[in-house]
Symmetry: C2
Subunit: 196 residues, 2 copies
Amino acid sequence: MKKDGTFMINYPNGIKKTIIANKTCDGNKNRGMNFEAEINMSNEYYRREDRAFVYKKPTPIKVVKITNKKSLPGCISEAYFEQPSTTDYNGIYKGKYLDFEAKETLNKTSFPLANIHPHQIEHLININRHGGIGFIIVHFKKLNEIYILDVAVVKEYSLVRGSIPYDVFVNKGKKVKQGYLIRLDYLQAVDELYNL
Amino acid sequence: MKKDGTFMINYPNGIKKTIIANKTCDGNKNRGMNFEAEINMSNEYYRREDRAFVYKKPTPIKVVKITNKKSLPGCISEAYFEQPSTTDYNGIYKGKYLDFEAKETLNKTSFPLANIHPHQIEHLININRHGGIGFIIVHFKKLNEIYILDVAVVKEYSLVRGSIPYDVFVNKGKKVKQGYLIRLDYLQAVDELYNL
């Protein structure tokens, strides 16, 4: 199993396939893992096709204690998850700096902004101001629909209310097509939203 | 202490100052920490000045076990360091995607390429091909000199020998000025090397 929670299968005919592993102890977390794993798979596809180089940033962890036993070389025996200072993903696409945060919601009518930290919105706003592309990608799980939305719209709603209505994603964002060869073709949605 | 190994001091006159913490158990590691801490401080300065948004990526860690005791909520009790898939730093500067790896050497006459993984060189080459700026920043500790060098030069030397002579950094790279207000003004060197 790879660190993004997926398996790579090499078929005898030379075709490779990535399979998502469903091995987590928390059912709710598991669904999040799959969305993340699907974005990671899409990024892997984009890299193989030489289309974009986008990576998920590792989760920041504060290491407190390292075990120096011979039987467990380099084993961390005490550590804590830390608050990420930026966003989940960044990279390069068509010469542009790309930066986004991926979120899921069970809500069918709106995306609760409590899901995103204000400093993450500010980070994405800074990226846009400096000529990059900053957005969020949101999975409406019960609708099984995925949208991208520019951070300027996210910021606008964060100033006046606690959520972004679903219609805003439909009208001001772009829907991400889900497929087989490429699970989530979010770069096609980026092309459309930003006229690239 | 912040996660980059620094302290922020707020003076009564409104001036803030970042102090490097020297708290590590391994003397050799400590010197590396300082170079990293100085790059992190410089990036903080660039962000405050609204000049660039560059961050260090967290070290990837594979979490194996989480303690679910009430006394230690969210404590990781078993984990391992993983090989980073890309480089130490990336971000946006003057509308461009910036990506680099930071390294130190005690060698005075050359930089041993064993310090950099081939997949990191390939990653930086991909970044350059796609319109980004990929380079390495190297601290010659005994000379106390710091240089940036484009990844194309790094690749060139990696194909024919195991190290890059110091002279190559002097002639084909750019020296990074070390100062007080901004510890390592590597973006000035980037401006010069890439004519930005």
